[in-house]
Every structure is written in structure tokens, then in C-alpha cells.
């Protein structure tokens, strides 16, 4: 399994809404790696809350997190945990 790429399903009721998008962008911001989130054809910068909101990922949506750079694997793990926990909501 590629540790710098992960497919995730948005589990929480409100989806990737303000609170969740804030948490994701903040988490991504802790890493130097270039991180993207893809939904279907659409790919955005994981550090951009605007981009994340524009994905309009509601509950049950599949997203792909990919990272490039020194701490790419750690970044993907951290974001994976955050999403799978339902953004600690």
C-alpha cells in the first residue's frame, strides 16, 4: 500500500463542512508536504479551506488524499485518522 495516498469516506453527518474543513486544513498545515484532496475530477489543496469547502463533500462521499514531500506519509496518516474519527465531532 502506498503510504502517501489514501482513499477515505467522509463519515460525519455534516460532511466536509466548515468545522471539518477547518480541522482538515489545520492538520494539513502542520506538514511541509504538498497535500491534495481529490473528489472525482476535482482536486484541491488540502491546506486551503476554500478549496475543501468547494469540494462539497457530504456524508458518504469518497475522497482521495495524496501527498508529496518529506513528511508525506505522516501527513496522510494524520489526515486519515482525522477523517476516520469523524473529525472528532
Amino acid at each position: 500500500m502506498d503510504p502517501t495516498r489514501r482513499e477515505l469516506v467522509i463519515p460525519n453527518e455534516k460532511g466536509l463542512h466548515v468545522r471539518a474543513a477547518t480541522a482538515l486544513a489545520r492538520t494539513a498545515g502542520r506538514f511541509a508536504a504538498q497535500i491534495t484532496v481529490t473528489r472525482g475530477e476535482e482536486r484541491v489543496d488540502a491546506k486551503s479551506i476554500m478549496g475543501l469547502l468547494l469540494l462539497t463533500a457530504s456524508q458518504g462521499t469518497t475522497i482521495v488524499v495524496e501527498a508529496k514531500g518529506g513528511d508525506a506519509a505522516e501527513a496522510v496518516t494524520a489526515i486519515g485518522e482525522l477523517v476516520e474519527s469523524g473529525f472528532y465531532e
Binding site: 466548515v18 468545522r19 474543513a21 489543496d45 486551503s48 479551506i49 478549496g51 468547494l54 462539497t56
Partner: protein, 599 residues
Amino acid sequence: MTHENLGIVLQGDGVSEGIVLGTVARWDRHETLVEHVRLPESLVNAEVSRFHDSIARAEREIDELYVSLTAAAMGTTEGEHLGLLDAHKLMLRDPSIVNDTERYIREEHLNAEWALSMTLKRLESMFAAVKDPFFRERGQDIHHIGERLMQFLAQSGDEVPPSPLSQLPQGAVLFAHSLSPAEALAASRQKVAAFVIEAGSTSGHTAIIARSLGIPAVVGLQGATDVAGDGDRVIVDGFEGEIVVRPTQYEEILYGRRANRAKAVRRAVRQNRTLPAETPDGFSIVLKANLDFAAQAPHVDALGGQGVGLYRTEFLFLDRVRPPTEEEQTAAYVSVLEALRPHPVTIRTLDVGGDKLIRFSGPEHAGLRAIRYCLANEELFLVQLRALLRASRHGELRILVPFIAAPFEIREVRRLLAQASEQLAARGIKHAPNIPVGAMIEIPVAALSAEHLAKEVDFFSVGTNDLMQYTMAIARDTASPDYLTNPLQPGFLRLLHMITRAGHHAGIVTAICGELAGKPSFAPILIALGFNELSMTPESIPLVKEVIRRTPRSEAMALLQKFGNMSAEEAKDYLDSYMVEHFPDIVTPRFRGAPHYMR
């Protein structure tokens, strides 16, 4: 009914309590005029740092707001709204804003304002194209932070740009489509009298600020800014979530009374929340609340109630294709019992049929209401009884059976309760022993045979609305002349007295859970009649308690005695003037001549 001579009434969500009369001040966010400038190469770097400087200052402002709002939301559960500020802070540094703006400045030698407005326009149009309204409305946030950045750019040095809201007139009621946290705070510092906000879901921060400062606020009022003009008079009722634009004189008087009453309630709560409902001559009475949902439970304690005298179960049954399961019902009853513990909760068994329709009732039972319907549908009733028994271990349960006409019905209920208990025992489920069973007295024949009924039940609860309706032979939902709905009819008072007397003789509690129980002016009469418990909407408890605490029972008895020789109209006038004289802080003189209108 014509409404042409009335003000425009709009209904929204009241998010901060209070009632005020003020003047409309509309807050239209005007577009800042942006200048387009081509910069010489030499100024580009300075322009980029000017842009970054505005971000840093906007960020600092959000940090300061965060501190004031956290203090305001302290001890409440409103912290989640503060998350919006965190999001705004992230947006200020968002690569899609910073990088694009910077690129426009560097590559096209544009001034920061023009570069930023191009970036924002592009982002806003992307949000506007989003289908899901839930996400689309976030475009507002971009607008809010963009506006603020523009204002910071327009200002040099460390000066904080004055908020455009700083010129509000005294007593202004601020009408806006939406307010950013900064605007809401700025307005509150301008001593704004009330907030009226068109947007609903994005107004959390406005609600926090309003509540913490005691400013009435109503949100979710679509079109409010279209019907109101600057300087219009407006009434804002933050309790009911209602506003009246350009009210008539009558409406102003009616709302004035509502405002006075609201003040009286708040004062009474402060004074008597933890005090007993006891007359100066030592007669105690128990005050309880009528509830429809367990979620209302915290109000009961906050307003000084001692449990629930009527928990209606109809809402579990209405509007559904199948009746709720035993598990669903058990969960609902458990939650209300646990929320009120250690206070008792009286749960009323299903009261449907007649004019209260449920979807799954078969045509064969059309017309049968409440206990009659339940006895005709034993299986359905047994499900509810089992759920009640199962829930009984989670608090102090009392079971109230509505629409009782004859002792036979109570015996049937007890037989079915025993059957439900056996069914549970077979499944190894235990329940609390000796759960009190009471009869709702709301049919005249039940009042007349109260002595017989008292031997069968553990308590009485009088439903005054139905008892009045059936006693006076008036139709529900039809306007009747006042004298037919006046509870001070000597015959009606006598009927109530029969019930309390029968209760006393049998040594059982006689409660009242109809509308009458929540009217402060009737409290003396109900004390005199000998009721042991009054159950009402939670909001009525403080004022009723205040009247009880200041009315000696001996005086109430004398009042009741006088009524025996008066007509209902004379009695009503007498009671009104008695209340005005003794409780000027609670009741206001009846306003005669107000048009009768309904909303």
C-alpha cells in the same frame, strides 16, 4: 378578516429573549469602490507587503473578537459557533486568496485592492455555482472577510478602520441580511436595541453576542429588509421570534403588555425560583410543568417547577404510518423521566381520536377518542403500557389516563397494566412497583361521579379546557361569546369544587393541568378550591408562584365566597380589579377596545 390597518407581522426564530419597540436601521453592505491602478515595477514589493499587512491586522482583529466572544459564551454550549472565527482566520491565509492576489500584484502590477477584488470575485462565483445550499452559503464568509480586508487596505498604519456601523441612531433595530462577527460586535457596542437578521443558519455569532448582552434578536426572517424602511417603527419580540413593522397603536399597546409581562417573569424567576409555592398562611401547593418533548426538561428546573404534571405522548404517534414501537416509546419515556429525576413525571396515555387524528387509525374506530380508542385497540395500548412500565425504573413515573367517563375504564386500565406486567415478566423484565394511576377529569360526568372515581385511582388531574367545552356545550375551534368561556360561571366553579372535595375525602391528590392553571389571576381561585397541584407551560410557573406566595389562602377563600353570589361577568371584573390592586407588577389593566385579531 382584514389586515390593512395592522402592521406587517413576520415570523422567524427568536434567538435572544426580550421585547423592544425601536426604529429600523437597515444595514446594506455597500460595495467598497475599488480603484484600478497599474503600479511601476519599483512599488510592487511594497504593495505585496501592504497586502500581507492587511491580512495580519484582520487576523489580530479576529483574535480579539475570539477573546470577547469566548468570554461572552462562557459557561454555555455555544462554543461551536466560535469555530466560524477559526475558519475565518484560516480563510485569511488561504492559498487560494493569498497566492492569487499576490500573483496579480506581481505579474500584472496591479494594486492590492484590485488584485484582491479579482480574487474574491472569482472565489465568490465558484461558491455561487455550488448546488448544495449548505455549502453555497459559505460564499458569505468570503464576502465578510473580503470586505474587512478591503477596509484594512484603505487604512494606513495601525489605525483600525471605523466600522460603518458606528453611526447607528439611539434605539436602532438593526436590519441586515447577515452580520459578520465583527459587525455584530460593533453594533452591540453602539447600543443597538435589537437585531433582525434575514439569514438563519449563519447567525450563530450574532445570537451569542445578543444573548450575552441581553439584546433581543430574531433571525431567519426572509424578506425583512424589503418590507422595512429606515426610520420605520418596529416591534421585535425575541421570545416568540416575531417582528411587527409599522405597528398600529393597538399593537404597540399589546406588545407593551407582553414586554411588561416578560419583565415580570424575569423578575419573578430571580425572586422565587428556589422558594416553595406556599401562601403566607402556610398552605402549600405543588407547581409542575406540561411538556411535549423531553428536550424541554431543563426549562422546568430553571423556572422553579417541581416535576412534570402532564407529559403528552401524542407527538410520538402523530404523523406516522405505523405506531411507534415499544422500544421507541420506552426510549422517549426514559429520557423525560431521567431528565426530571428526582421529580415525578406524569405521563398521559395516548389521547388521540375525535378531532386529534392519527394516520394509522382504522375507520372502524373513527370517533373514538383517548381511552375509548385505546380500549378498542388493546394491542396498541398494551405496547404503550409495556413501554411505560419498562421506563418506570428510570424515575418517578405516574400514569394519567385521559377522557375517563366511568370507573369501569379505570378497572380496564388496571387489568391491562397487570397483563403488560406479566408479558414483561415472561421476558424477564422488571418494573417499579406501585406506579400511581390517575384519571383525567375532563368530561362532566366524571366530575359528577368524582366520589366513585376517587376510590379507583391514585390521583385526579383536571383538564379544564375540555371540561369547560363539554360543560358549556361549546364547539372547539369556533369563536364563542365570552360568557360561554368564562370559567367563573358559578356552575363551573361548583363542578371544580366537587372534584377537589371528592379528592380530599378519598385522600388523593387533585391536580389541574388545563390552561387555567397557568393564569396568574386564577391562582387565588384554584387555591381556594383546594387544588393540590397546578401544572402549566413552564414559562407560567414563576408568575403563578409569585401570586400564590403573596395571597393568603383565607383571602382567596373570601374571594371565592363572594363569587358565589355574582354573575360570571361581575366575578371577572371583580377578579381583574383585585389583581390590578394586589399585583400591579404582574398584571396590567385589561385593555378594552383592542381589535380581536388572530395570527
